[in-house]
């Protein structure tokens, strides 16, 4: 099965190799460049300062278009659509499943062999790129908040790859045609990751309520805890704990110079509040979201195996 699978999917194999090499090279290159900044100390050059030579320009360009950061989110979905979805679907489409499944190998063995030979190299590839990405994010040190790069971290990258491939294989087995299965996979991966990121992620653990009488304590949410994930927008509460508008808060406190505001607010019981997830929960959250994707992947793989062994044809 090893040889057969390689012979059947070597084109995809080459694409994976190219994509992985490009992503790794880009990540290593930019990481290296960030470690050797071009501007002399003391010159305010913004967050990232790279040398003005051609290599620096290229690195700057890679950073500006976020090649690595976008690639690492997009590539798992593409792998699911272009490698996972056709795995079974193309056999059914071409009728070759009638050839493959009447040889001296049971369908269970056939699908397990295919899946393992598909998953092992792609997991290795996503792990390599994911880890390099972690180094890259670290190198972009002036943006310390990891929550902004939550989707690009290594655990989630690997889990997303597993999930996308599983969805692709299951959709391909159940639909039996490559193109629709690819579309379902792309939409499914994007929808799942979007839903998790936007609607679910904030609720993995109960957020903590930040509350202060100093209206400037949040300083754009970064002042209080730069490593935290600040949810929604800050709001204001009166002494009774009711949410009030910013104008209302200012009206109650009256005028006064900015330096007096904390005292004023304290006297009137007004506070600025915002929910947040503290920075030390970052890896717990990574584990939870990766776990959700992996659990979904296991269900989908079970479905794919069931469909291949019991339902198809």
């Amino acid at each position: 099965m090893l040889w057969i699978t390689w012979r059947q999917h070597r084109v995809e194999g080459v694409w994976v190799l190219i994509a992985t090499t490009l992503m790794s090279a880009a990540a290593i290159f930019v990481t290296y460049k960030l470690g050797h900044p071009g501007c002399p100390a003391g010159i305010p050059g913004g967050d990232i300062c790279l040398q003005a030579d051609p290599a620096g320009t290229v690195a700057q360009w890679i950073l500006r278009v976020n090649l690595v950061n976008y690639g690492i989110v997009i590539l798992p979905a593409l792998a699911g659509a272009f490698i996972g979805a056709p795995l079974v679907a193309r056999e059914i489409e071409n009728g070759t499943h009638r050839l493959a499944w009447t040889q001296g190998v049971t369908r269970v063995r056939w699908i397990f062999a295919k899946l393992s030979l598909l998953f092992v190299p792609l997991l290795a590839a996503s792990a390599v790129v994911g880890v390099l990405e972690v180094f890259l994010i670290d190198a972009m040190g002036s943006q310390p908040n990891h929550w902004n790069w939550f989707d690009q971290q290594a655990p989630l990258t690997v889990a997303a790859t597993v999930f996308a491939l599983a969805l692709g294989v299951a959709a391909g087995a159940m639909i039996g045609r490559s193109i629709p299965a690819m579309a379902v996979t792309l939409v499914g991966v994007v929808a799942t990751r979007f839903t998790l990121a936007v609607f679910v992620r904030a609720h993995y653990m109960n957020p903590i309520l930040f509350s202060s009488h100093d209206p400037f304590s949040l300083n754009g949410s970064l002042g209080a805890d730069p490593s935290a994930w600040w949810l929604d927008q800050p709001s204001y509460q009166d002494a009774a704990g009711h949410t009030i508008g910013q104008l209302e808060a200012l009206r109650i406190t009256g005028g006064g110079s900015p330096t007096d505001l904390p005292t004023y607010w304290k006297d009137h019981g007004i506070s600025i509040v915002q929910y947040y997830q503290p920075g030390d929960r970052f890896w717990t959250f990574q584990t939870i979201e990766s776990g959700i994707l992996l659990a979904l992947a296991i269900v989908l793989l079970g479905l794919a195996i069931y469909w291949v062994t019991r339902r198809v044809s």
């Binding site: 040889w3 012979r7 009728g95 009447t102 040889q103 190998v105 044809s313």
Partner: protein, 297 residues
């Protein structure tokens, strides 16, 4: 001896349509059996059921005494199957396909395949997509034979071949199975090609089995009676009319059984296989109830 294929009450329904219904067939061992019927008669469905590719809705099919859906491990190595349109990996070369067969089958006989393909002058380094229809079918057959199967199932193996390639294919098949005593069931809607090769005939029509029996027995049991015009409802005694055709002055009756004394003015002709098949196919109601092989046995 356990029958290579034994179906009882076998039926397969897709949605509301029955592709195959109440089908009971016993394919004898060591024979080349032909599964004949018009397009959409259920031939492919029957072969897929026997190959274990699909599950029956009703009844069961047993291959060497076991259901192929449940005993894949035991049966897959013993059964060779060539699906309709001979699906193969079009990017593979002939040599790749041989390796495919070798890696997936325990009983693989590389020499048989190589010898056969060499004798047909099929280049091993050619891609499947670039083979002619005849070569492609031969490669598919060689791969199935390479499994050294005890039962060979072929779904319309010659449907897309020209007459010469058809003859070559059938010849190759006969030679190959004669050596090992392999049982064969092949489906076709081209009856002319079967006569030389097959010795057992199963006619299915509209998802039902119409006729099943030894071809020699069937030929011996059927006659064409031609005589002066008779009334359409007239049934000659002692025979069963499969099909009747009446012109202004003449009546033709395709009958099963023997007429002891031919009435004056009537003559009796033997039926070529193709005529026999067409007689049944054009009269779907005939033969479904009484099975001819029981009468001639």
């Amino acid at each position: 001896m356990i029958a290579p294929i034994e179906a009882t009450g076998l039926g397969k329904r897709y949605g509301k349509t029955w592709a195959l219904q109440n089908c009971s067939i016993r394919v004898p061992v060591g024979r080349i059996a032909a599964l004949v019927g018009p397009n959409g008669a259920g031939k492919t469905t029957f072969l897929h059921l026997a190959a274990g590719l699909i599950r029956p809705t009703t009844g069961e099919v047993r291959v060497f005494g076991r259901t192929p859906q449940e005993h894949r491990l035991l049966l897959l190595d013993r059964v060779g199957f060539v699906a309709q349109d001979t699906p193969m990996y079009s990017q593979f070369t002939v040599a790749d396909m041989m390796r495919f067969g070798r890696e997936l089958n325990l009983r693989w006989d590389q020499k048989v395949v190589e010898t056969k393909l060499r004798s047909l002058n099929i280049p091993f380094d050619r891609e499947i997509a670039k083979l002619s229809g005849g070569m492609r079918s031969q490669v598919a057959l060689a791969l199935a034979l390479g499994k050294n199967p005890e039962l060979l199932l072929l779904d319309e193996p010659v449907a897309r071949l020209d007459p010469l390639a058809r003859r070559e294919f059938m010849q190759g098949l006969t030679e190959a199975v004669a050596e090992n005593g392999t049982s064969v069931l092949l489906s076709s809607h081209l009856v002319a090609d079967l006569e030389r090769v097959c010795d057992y005939l199963i006619i299915i029509n509209g998802g039902r089995v119409q006729v099943a029996g030894d071809i020699d027995d069937l030929l011996a049991a059927h006659r064409l009676l031609v005589g002066p015009r008779i009334h359409e409802d007239t049934r000659p005694p002692g025979v069963e009319v499969v099909r009747a055709q009446h012109t202004e002055r003449q009546s033709s009756l395709w009958v099963r059984g023997k007429v002891s004394v031919l009435p004056a003015g009537w003559r009796e002709e033997t039926l070529p296989l193709e005529e026999l098949v067409i007689a049944y196919l054009s009269a779907p109601a005939a033969g479904t109830l009484a099975k001819p092989q029981l009468e001639v046995a």
